[in-house]
């Protein structure tokens, strides 16, 4: 991936960015996020099929913010959508972040709003076949069976909040579950506590989740937790006509009232 290294090197040499966030070799054949600040370190950047984490999660991290914008970031299609969504949610400006993307056989940068929105719309997130299958499988269940399914899956949840930590859209400085005067979400990791947490997270990501799957990948106990936020986003898409991550200036799906909003799907 010489093109990638070249682009990163130029961005840093020209001082166009202070930091390039990308993937590098990790331990035991894994990849890990790397943070390149010097052009001579650009050679550690790699890009292959192992690179699945949505790196947009770092754009709201305190230590990264302290390094300062502009930041270039090696981006999968879902990462670009997260960036667009974060711009729509006023987390930073278009010029603060330069996505480095694959376009056909080329690696290139996106440096203006039109290109950004165009790329996001033209490159939807492609789910692996087992995800499509699993969604279909759950949708075909009765309400009772679905409840049983999630009861079984969530019984393994010990609330490490890796789903939240891995999610670029879970950037609240104080998450609802951490608000404890009074306590809004039931904290203990028993049946009610885990359900309450994951239902809350799904509702908060309805119309915002870009379906990158980072939460599912991060889960240390193997819960396909991303299916919940994906389903919430599907409902927002179908019922409210809202597609997250493709427009830089749209109001939030669940924080906006329109007189013609459907009410049929509200419990």
């Amino acid at each position: 991936m010489n093109q990638l290294n070249q682009i990163a090197k130029e961005l840093l040499t020209s001082q166009k960015v202070k930091l390039v966030i990308g993937y590098g070799e990790g331990t035991d054949g894994r990849v890990r996020p790397v943070f390149v600040r010097k052009s001579e370190d650009a050679s550690q950047l790699i890009w292959d099929d192992r690179c699945r984490q949505n790196l947009a999660v770092y754009l709201n991290k305190t230590e990264i913010r302290e390094i300062g914008f502009p930041i270039a970031i090696v981006s999968l299609p879902a990462t670009v959508r997260s960036i667009v969504q974060l711009i729509a949610e006023h987390q930073f400006q278009v010029e603060d972040v330069i996505p480095i993307v694959q376009e056909g056989a080329n690696v290139t940068t996106i440096e203006n709003k039109e290109r950004l929105e165009q790329y996001a719309a033209a490159n939807p997130v492609v789910f692996p076949p087992f995800v499509v299958e699993e969604i279909e499988n759950i949708r075909n269940k009765s309400v009772e069976e679905r409840f049983e399914y999630w009861q079984e899956e969530l019984s393994r949840c010990f609330k490490c909040y890796a789903c939240r930590a891995a999610c670029p859209l879970c950037y609240c400085e104080r998450c609802i579950t951490d608000v404890n005067t009074p306590q809004w979400v039931c904290v203990p990791p028993h049946a009610i506590g885990t359900f309450e947490w994951h239902m809350n997270r799904a509702m908060h990501l309805a119309g915002r989740c870009v379906e990158c799957g980072s939460c599912t990948i991060a889960c240390p106990v193997g819960i396909p937790i991303g299916l919940l936020t994906m389903e919430a986003t599907r409902i927002a898409r179908e019922e409210l006509g809202y597609e997250p991550g493709i427009k830089c200036d749209v109001p939030a799906a669940l924080a906006t009232f329109r007189p013609d909003d459907k009410e049929s799907f509200i419990l």
Binding site: D28, P33, V187, G193, G222
Partner: protein
């Protein structure tokens, strides 16, 4: 101490007989791509081929959520029930722990035995018999030998099985509890001489001198390496929750003015809320300060205070970390940088 050998098939029979005696059997089982210690009635569901389970067995002694007291206010009295007194008496057998896990369980027991003591952990530890299996394989995440544990360590186990040739295990019966179990199924075991088991064990190199690292950490608080090393840390609690020794907890009250429950839940120093003051001030403002706390607690504060490392080198935190934070690598970096 007595020694036996047992065939794989007889071992399954032995585990079956344990269950038949009405004991609770907890053993490694696979779900999705992960391996968990779970209660089982069916010994054929037990997994044998793993380097280390994904999740540690600590919740056998220290469950992720535990009611401590319940209270009820009636017209004329406040009634408080101590849940420790209501803990069920059920003899439990943990099968398939690695030697590092068995060592960790004894350390966990000691942490909770510190004043004023903990009747929950104490009672569970008394009821628990540990049948461990030595490590014949290790991976790059394992570093038990650097923290004074070994792939055939007998500490904390009641029975230790070491896989050897011909699908057989060499059996070391180490305690009275272990002996009681073996005596009940004596016909499944063959008497053996004491064996040299080294040749059956995984080779885990001990290239990180943890004691030396402890000393270097005494002056490491303000070193810039913490920030560099933890830039990629996303601040989840995975490392703490898969760790066999992390034992920080949070107390939660659930209920109303009339009745409710006080619960103890796992907590992690990786969370911002862990040190958040009521005022909103957080003495560990950034993730790098939280990561530093994790490393210093395990490799500096605990050795200073109770002369043990808060780590048995099982490698679970590094295997489970979604962003490849690797504890062994961190220790190597400290060794090189300080």
């Amino acid at each position: 101490m007595t020694y036996y050998t047992i065939s794989h098939n007889n071992l399954l029979e032995f585990l079956k007989s344990i269950r038949a005696q009405g004991k609770k059997l907890i053993a490694p089982q696979q779900r999705e791509q992960k391996i968990f210690f779970m209660e089982t009635d069916d010994v054929s569901s037990i997994v044998f081929d793993y380097i280390q389970t994904s999740i540690s067995p600590k919740d056998i002694l220290f469950p992720r959520v535990e009611p401590l007291i319940t209270y009820e206010l009636t017209a004329d009295a406040l009634q408080v029930n101590d849940r420790a007194e209501q803990l069920p008496s059920i003899s439990t057998v943990l099968f398939g722990a690695r030697p590092c896990d068995a060592v960790a369980l004894t350390m966990l027991e000691k942490f909770f035995a510190e004043e004023p003591g903990d009747p929950f952990v104490e009672k569970r530890a008394k009821q628990l018999t540990v049948i461990s299996v030595s490590c014949s394989k290790a991976d790059s995440y394992c570093f038990c030998t650097s923290v004074g544990v070994s792939p055939g360590d007998t500490r904390g186990s009641d029975i230790l099985l070491t896989p050897c040739e011909n699908n057989e295990y060499y059996v070391e019966v180490l305690t009275e509890k272990g002996n009681d179990l073996v005596q009940k199924s004596q016909n499944l075991f063959n008497k053996s001489e004491k064996k040299e088991k080294e040749k059956y064990l995984a080779n885990v190199s001990s290239d990180i001198p943890a004691e030396e690292i402890s000393k270097r950490l005494e002056n490491a608080f303000n070193n810039p390496l913490w920030n560099e090393a933890s830039l990629r840390c996303i601040g989840c609690g995975t490392c703490a929750y898969v760790c066999p020794l992390c034992s920080c907890f949070d107390i939660e009250d659930e209920g109303t003015q009339k009745c409710g429950t006080r619960l103890r839940c796992w907590d992690s120093c990786g969370f911002a809320l862990f040190t958040m003051h009521t005022s909103g001030h957080n003495p560990r403002r950034t993730q790098s300060e939280r990561w530093r706390q994790r490393v210093l607690h395990k490799f500096s504060y605990l050795p200073q205070r109770v002369q043990v490392f808060g780590c048995v080198g099982c490698g679970r935190c590094s295997r489970a970390c979604p962003v490849d934070m690797n504890l062994k690598e961190q220790l190597q970096l400290i060794k090189e940088a300080l």
